[in-house]
């Protein structure tokens, strides 16, 4: 693969040599905006059949909005039932244990928890670890328990900060990578706590 840059042939042999992003040399938005306005102005004249009448258009948008809301509620119910730890529900083989103070705040799902990491196996494993976490924490020395909860709260804060930054810049590869790293760190902590409190086993 090769590319040319102002008459100079650059040979690229590995993907890593390619720039991760290329910024335009100038602000492109004014041109894009004027093009959009041109298209909007010309639209009714293009073809009567292809243009949706305003009332039908509004009705279609309403249906789309209603469908999106139903889908959001369904996803929310699914997350609530299958992903988040339910109160009083213990993991298989584990007695349900009262959560220690700060547990909910430290482990509450963030906005992208289900949407961003969609691998069902990951979701199942995370949910199971979260369900057994109160019982596992109860096995730890009090000082460690407090530190684990503080670390989980730190991870949750990091996820929120990254998600908030991604909300402003959704295509940012750096933020996406750091968010995935943070999900992995959360799983590592949950797994370490699980293993550390397993009777007869160390971490």
């Amino acid at each position: 693969m090769s590319g040319s840059n102002e008459g100079t042939e650059l040979k690229v042999t590995r993907l890593a040599e390619l720039p991760r992003s290329i910024e335009p040399g100038r602000d492109l938005w004014p041109n894009i905006e004027s093009k959009i306005k041109e298209i909007q102005a010309a639209a009714p004249e293009v073809s009567g059949a292809s243009v949706i009448p305003p009332r039908r258009h509004r009705a279609r948008l309403s249906w789309l909005a209603a469908a999106a809301m139903v889908a959001s509620v369904a996803v929310g119910v699914w997350i609530g039932r299958s992903v988040l730890p339910a109160a009083g529900r213990g993991a298989a083989g584990t007695l349900a244990t009262k959560s220690p103070p700060g547990f909910e705040a430290a482990t509450e799902a963030t906005a992208f928890d289900a949407a961003y990491v969609s691998d069902p196996r990951y979701q199942r494993q995370r949910a199971a670890l979260l369900r057994s976490l109160p019982a596992r924490l109860a096995e730890l020395p009090p000082e460690s328990r407090a530190k684990v909860l503080a670390s989980l709260a730190t991870i949750r804060k990091a996820k929120q900060d990254l998600e908030s930054a991604l909300g402003k810049d959704p295509g940012n590869a750096l933020l996406q990578e750091l968010l995935v790293d943070t999900y992995q760190d959360e799983m590592r902590v949950l797994t370490d706590v699980h293993d550390a409190s397993e009777p007869g086993r160390g971490i």
């Binding site: 910024e23 335009p24 670390s151 990091a158 940012n172 990578e177 750091l178 760190d185 550390a196």
Partner: protein, 298 residues
């Protein structure tokens, strides 16, 4: 009546002295034959585990056992010696034991503890050291090491012998000196401070803890350091140089070779990239809000 009272008193005195005897600390000593390159497994809930290497083909155990410790089980089978502090069920895991264990110098040592500190010195075999809330301190041998804690600190000193070193803590600080070879370290909120005499690869990751790396990088070495909100500092020298790529969403990027970081015109974030020397190694550092410092001088 008087006889009955006297007998009751005697029984009471006998009972209290028995309780006193049971509550006293006691010592444990045992020595078993072992192979020079065997495995020594040690398990202790609370207290301390001190392991040191020696030139004999024996494992020697000396223990100071707290009142709530039931016994110490020692077994030797083939090349594996197992030492386990056993607590009665009702103690809820709080019986303390201080173990001093000498092992053949080239043994592999696996220690598992809950709130016991682990100290290791003079062992040249593989080290696998796990403690939940205890600290892990001592020397790195010449072989690979895997060290994990949940809240305990990790402080280890090596002798510059190349090996694979993997350290992992949830909230404890990690301090490694004179390591070498391949290093992989992660913490969530602890600080990661590492000096490596000769590094082939470094992977360091924290969520909010700072990362401070000092290393002489071998030819073609790979360094990857990431943090969400912690600061990252790398002082890495390399005879054959390295290419570097540093990016941060909202943190500052500085360096000691006067190269300006680029700031996005229409997007947040800054980026520094370039090459030092022949550029044979690769350095990649990423943060979201943490500051980054890069220098090619130790």
């Amino acid at each position: 009546m008087r006889i009955a009272c006297g007998m009751s008193m005697a029984l009471f005195v006998l009972g209290t002295s028995a309780v006193g005897f049971a509550a006293e600390e006691r010592t444990f000593d045992k020595t078993v034959a072992a192979q020079p390159h065997g495995v020594v497994d040690i398990s202790n809930v609370a207290g301390e585990v001190q392991v040191s290497g020696w030139d004999r083909q024996e494992v020697s155990i000396h223990g100071e056992l707290g009142a709530q410790v039931e016994r110490v089980d020692v077994s030797s089978d083939g090349g594996r010696t197992s030492i386990k502090v056993v607590l009665p069920n009702h103690t809820n895991g709080h019986g303390e034991a201080e173990l001093r264990i000498q092992v053949p110098r080239d043994s592999e040592v696996d220690v598992s503890a809950v709130s016991a500190d682990i100290k290791i010195n003079g062992v040249q075999g593989v080290e696998r050291l796990n403690s939940v809330s205890g600290d892990v301190t001592g020397e790195l041998g010449g072989a690979d090491a895997e060290v994990k804690t949940v809240s305990g600190e990790i402080r280890l000193k090596g002798h510059g012998a190349a090996a694979r070193l993997h350290v992992n803590s949830v909230s404890g600080d990690v301090r490694i000196e004179h390591g070498a070879g391949d290093f992989e370290g992660t913490t969530v909120s602890g600080t990661l401070g590492v000096t490596l005499d000769s590094a082939r690869s470094i992977q360091a990751r924290t969520t909010s803890g700072d990362v401070r790396l000092e290393a002489k990088l071998a030819r073609g070495a790979n360094v990857e350091a990431t943090s969400v909100s912690g600061d990252v500092s790398l002082r890495g020298s390399a005879e054959d140089g390295y290419s570097y790529e540093v990016s941060s969403f909202s943190g500052d990027i500085s360096n000691c070779f006067d190269v300006q970081a680029e700031h996005g015109k229409y997007m947040p974030g800054s980026r520094l990239q370039g090459s030092r020397g022949q550029g044979s190694g690769h350095v990649r550092i990423k943060t979201m809000s943490g500051d980054v410092q890069l220098c090619d001088r130790n």
